[in-house]
Symmetry: D2
Subunit: 305 residues, 4 copies
């Protein structure tokens, strides 16, 4: 019953052209990722602009990804929305398109509540579908931290298949990993923090969901392989390089999504994978010195000549 998903599962960045999905770039991007040896894809995550995509656009993205991937790697699909009924609608939409191994949901957001409501929310979602349910712990977006106790309880009860941890709370992650270990590992634990994946592997993570793997999939795959053979010096050396690469997000005058995903798309454009670095409205693409900054970092780590 344990999920088969482990390894490096990037949250897929989405190429746009004039506000539309750029399918040609998407195809190039996915094929490059799979060629690099990635173990799965997370579609419609935060990086995958789930918050910016209409219901139709989410379905279109899933459809195209399923077609392009064609079963080569498993897919997780984000069903992120404010509250239960809206997430249920999203789950039904994901099922209608088909091709997903699991869905990924956050704690409810916008309306405030407590852990009781979060637990009910996740239990209702799990009961509604045969797909794996993954919890997405991302307080920077939903302003609630999922507690290790809650996650483990839901893992033991078969509600959750796994957790994508983007909480930035490595102490909590370690305790969750320890408790999961003691309980027979009902949960798959993936980290979303691309700069310190090595620390998460030390904690016993089952893999990573690094946004930066959109830019350098080989690096994260090499790191995973080193982890699999317990070559920790290789794990950390690779991480140092990837931490240096992550400096592409340190742009000026732009914050949050526009800086982070903006830098990923700019890098993919500079690398010739995306035809454009276009961002979803109301966010602007990086410009001028910020593009030069991204290029400079890419050159420093040897990805651009």
């Amino acid at each position: 019953m344990t999920s088969q998903i482990r390894g490096v599962i990037p949250p897929l960045a989405i190429p746009l052209k004039d506000g539309e999905l750029d399918v040609a770039s998407l195809e190039r991007h996915i094929n490059r990722l799979i060629a690099a040896g990635l173990h799965g894809l997370f579609v419609s995550g935060s990086t995958g602009e789930v918050a910016f995509s209409t219901t139709e656009r989410r379905a279109q993205i899933q459809r195209e990804v399923v077609r392009i991937v064609d079963g080569r790697v498993p897919l997780l699909v984000g069903v992120i929305d404010t509250e239960t009924e809206r997430v249920l609608d999203n789950i039904r939409a994901v099922e209608a398109v088909g091709g997903a191994a699991g869905v990924v949901a956050t704690a409810p957001f916008y309306a405030l509540g407590g852990e009781t409501e979060i637990e009910r929310h996740l239990r209702i979602l799990a009961e509604s579908t045969d797909l794996e349910l993954w919890a997405y712990d991302i307080p920077v977006c939903v302003h609630t931290k999922l507690s290790p106790d809650l996650l483990l309880r839901l893992g033991r009860d078969g509600v959750l298949a796994g957790v994508k941890d983007s909480s930035g709370d490595d102490v909590s992650f370690r305790w969750l990993a320890r408790a999961n270990e003691a309980a027979g590992r009902p949960l798959r634990l993936l980290t979303g923090h691309e700069v310190v994946v090595d620390g998460a592997y030390m904690s016993g993570a089952d893999g990573s969901v690094p946004g930066l793997a959109n830019v350098d999939p080989e690096g994260y795959v090499r790191q995973w392989q080193a982890y699999e053979r317990r070559d920790w010096e290789a794990v950390r050396t690779e991480q140092d390089r990837l931490a240096d690469l992550m400096r592409i997000v340190q742009v000026k005058g732009v914050q949050g999504f526009g800086a982070g995903v903006g830098a990923f798309k700019t890098a993919l454009h500079l690398l010739g994978v995306f035809d454009s670095s276009e961002m979803p409205r109301p966010v602007g693409a990086l410009e001028g010195d910020n593009v030069e900054h991204v290029a400079s970092v890419l050159r420093t780590v040897g990805l651009l000549s």
Copy 2:
């Protein structure tokens, strides 16, 4: 060009029965509000469970409200969603149903950004519709405060018709009111803080959007009328009574929406307006001692015998 909306505009609480909209209770509720002399209704606000309602449910609520109100008071309708394209879809849905004077949007949420993105967001929304656009300043839900400078600039430019302020920042509200006054009052300013509406009226607010007016519409109408004739002692005496009534939300073991809107629905059920105090999933209705607490407060202020 100035909006005609002023006075007391409650955010409509929504009666449910077995997960469905309870139209009979809704009809009773709206007719009671209008009979009390309220000046408009805010449909699908935070209190109006916008975050819990699917796209279909939002349209159904709007349809029924428009039918019941039948033009007796103007309607604002919430189009709250994470980012621009999703809000645009919501605006088109509100237009399709018809009957609204304006739509109400928040800053983008879930994905982080800065003021540049918020400004673009609101400008794009305004360009897409002939309905009035109102800004909803509710950092407790969207985790960004709209700055007075931004709001005034958008008011002057005709982007915004008004602001519903639920920021809890009365200093900022005063400065916004002063700047709006100096600019010839392009914006209508409504406060959402039912416990200190008198302070907002001192600041020059054009009205209020008190969730508690679902429970005691007459109180807020009397207060507004006293304000209109500058009878400040009556304004504050009424406010003291309403502040005491607001203690219905001080329940135990429940937080946020479940406590606040839970208490409103419980009170409306106790008052015989709603057939039930049912809450949208995953939130539970208040129970046991918490119901007794609400009843006790209602008795203290003379609403229940």
Copy 3:
């Protein structure tokens, strides 16, 4: 047993010269405040740079203020420090200097705790002294909000004589005022929010502690007198003017204490009350355009020609 302190009690701004207390400016400043009719002084508050003053400096300031005031108005003195034993040392120092009607303490800060620790802290302080103990509710500095329930309980038990509320939470303040009223008014309630004192008076405040009264004491005294005779239109008109004056703090490139107290000192220097606008290390005085901004606001409201 109720405190005699009510009315306008400004937190005294402190003139410096080459890092030393500028006694001549202090004398001019205090005499101007008392001439304007203020009802007391709060020495060594946040505005009064308590956080920047060594133990010796705090005693020196208190000594000079006591000498200059010479019993004309009552004094509250801040004993602000991280935890109980340190505050007790400060209380003993205030008693040693003499001349204070009461001491003002915050919740413990730096080390985290809960309400249990805050309650014990305040009870220990009260038992140690015959001076009035005032609670200073200032979460922006100590990162804990004092709950109305706790404050009222400590008022009823004779632990606290009053509260200086700088919490920015006007809903909580209203509830505290209502509960205090119902309990026979054991607490004196003063607001620290100079921009919305009128709202606090609507809530039943016993006075205000406006930093801005250092700059325009007459305005706050006129407002208090209007409140005493329930001339609410005068209360709010005066508040509008003071809200406009408070724009002196809206400077560029400086945040927090440096902006707020920096603007007060700059204004007092421009008005000829302080010989300099010097700030305590490591904070710099306002310069260039920021000084011009302060002057411009002073001219707009008619304090500078």
Copy 4:
């Protein structure tokens, strides 16, 4: 010029008896730590109840520690206070007692400011003393995060000898470590997060300041030795054990310092090192089930039979 301090440097927990320093327990405690092979001590840190200690008590603690340690390991001493002049007083007091290799200061707290003030603050401190100046990055107490850029600049300029990072931001720590490496390692970087020291070692930390090392010094020393010989499997296995031990802090009904340091003292009392688990006022010692919880965890990891 690089600091000689590296390895495991615990923040010394302080035994109390009837509110006084329990010198006999302190002697036992320090000798046990040094016997375990620890590489230095951090006196008057957050764990070392700096916020609860009067000026006299801080000096007394330093005096006794210096006497007991007698030069066997180097000492860092906390000079934590709200703003510059107060910290300077503390530095002079530390110098007067003597025996310290360096002093440890945080960003200013209580009064708000920006990075400009923090930088000035640290530069003024460094100019005032020949002791090493260490920055203590602890936003949970001072509510400001020290940026990697600032820290590195101050390291390069010889202002700072090192950083104790208790920020919980492992991404920022990695970037700081990378930048420090590129700059020739002017800074010593120690982590304060006892549950994930292995991750910090992966990032290239020069050591750790684990509060939990008060309880199990041998574990942290073994981990450091494994790190020194790059035996990463041993590093992480030891960390897993220490993460399990850290569960002593997961007590009920107590928060923050009372839970964390309360658990350390309770464990030291159970282990026979401290004569009592007494806490500084206003904090209470752990009681009843919480003591049993601590004992149970100690037994689970084999420290108690």
